[in-house]
């Protein structure tokens, strides 16, 4: 199966754009959750997208369009693990040296949109989510903002559906507890 690649009047227009506009934010969020930095998240997302495009264009993709998102979650995760292994030594060195620089977060590092939500609360939520161990936060990100089922998450992470569900539940509880603690301390 190939993607139609052009329209008559306005020259070549990729149909990937429409799909990216619809799903790109969810995928970037997941990539951000899987990596340490925004630049890494973008690289990982790009690698995974290229692999999807290659498979689809060459007709090697198994399944329909609805299977693209589970494929992307799996691929982003793999790319993040590979990138982490490749760059671990280099990154540790960089973080030591440019730690202060990393502490200065720009708005492009934000995981969520600021509009329509209390900014302070958003930052707290985001911080608490980032502090959560990855095995919990990845399930939460896929479930809440990716709209994946526990069965799909289980398949993506190669764990049982029940494990995915219990990681989600305990992760949500831990997240709420962190935020309750922040509220009691007066941070919220």
């Amino acid at each position: 199966m190939g993607m139609p690649r052009s329209t008559a009047d306005s020259g070549p227009i990729s149909n990937w754009r429409e799909w990216l506009v619809e799903h790109g934010d969810k995928l970037l969020l997941f990539a951000r959750q899987q990596t340490r930095r925004q630049a890494d998240a973008e690289d990982v997302l790009q690698e995974a997208l290229v692999k999807l495009a290659r498979k689809v264009e060459k007709g090697e993709f198994v399944g329909g369009r609805e299977a693209w998102m589970p494929f992307m979650y799996t691929q982003i995760r793999r790319e993040a693990i590979d990138l982490g292994r490749r760059n671990d030594r280099r990154r540790k060195r960089e973080e030591r040296v440019v730690g202060d620089e990393l502490g200065l977060k720009g708005s492009e590092d934000d995981w969520f949109e600021g509009a329509g939500y209390d900014e302070e609360r958003r930052q707290m939520m985001e911080g608490a989510l980032q502090e959560l161990p990855k095995k919990f936060s990845e399930v939460i990100v896929m479930k809440i903002w990716g709209g994946r089922t526990f069965a799909e998450i289980g398949e993506i992470l190669d764990i049982s559906m029940n494990t995915a569900a219990s990681r989600y539940r305990y992760g949500i509880e831990a997240l709420r507890k962190k935020l309750t603690g922040a509220r009691l301390r007066g941070d919220l």
Binding site: R17, L28, E42, E47, A53, L83, R122, I144, E173
Partner: protein, 171 residues
């Protein structure tokens, strides 16, 4: 899932993931269109000039100097490094001397009991090894009875609060 968690879940759902900025969207789109030309390998960023200077020999010398200074400082501190401080929970033997005119040695322990006052679920925490635990706050009261040779009885009560972590299985 209880109502509070459900409410919290709904609150999370109201947060929208950051949209792809136009330049990033264009970059991703271009990469997908040019999948044939795309080099699959991620080329690592070249280290910046300012950073590499810090990693050089001078930087290592500076680190070594700080380490030596720290060690010397530790030796000069009065009393050096102390072990863990006494905790409030540890029984204080001298506490019984507070009763004026009574020698603590003349009282012998007769009875000790612990009564459970309350236990409350404090939610789930994740420990450093990434394992979830349920936190139970357990309040109890310790009762101690002492008696001396004259048959005088001394009772002591001490409230106790403990937080018990119960490991939860996820896989």
């Amino acid at each position: 899932m209880d109502a509070e968690l459900k409410k919290f879940e709904e609150e999370l759902e109201r947060m929208a993931p950051r949209r792809l900025p136009e330049n990033l969207l264009a970059r991703m789109e271009a990469a997908m269109d040019d999948w044939e030309e795309h080099d699959e390998k991620v080329v690592p960023f070249p280290s910046r000039a300012g950073e590499s200077r810090l990693i050089g020999r001078g930087f290592l010398k500076a680190v070594a100097a700080v380490a030596v200074l720290g060690a010397a400082l530790a030796l000069m501190l009065p009393g050096g490094f102390k072990s863990a401080p006494e905790t409030a929970d540890r029984p204080n033997p001298s506490g019984s001397v507070l009763l004026a005119g009574i020698s603590p040695a003349s009282f012998a322990p007769q009875d000790a009991q612990r009564k459970l006052v309350s236990a409350a679920d404090q939610g789930v925490v994740v420990t450093r090894d990434s394992r979830p635990h349920r936190v139970l706050r357990v309040e109890s009261m310790d009762h101690y009875t002492f008696q001396n040779a004259k048959g005088e009885v001394l009772t002591m009560e001490r409230p106790r609060v403990e937080f018990v972590l119960i490991p939860l299985e996820t896989d």
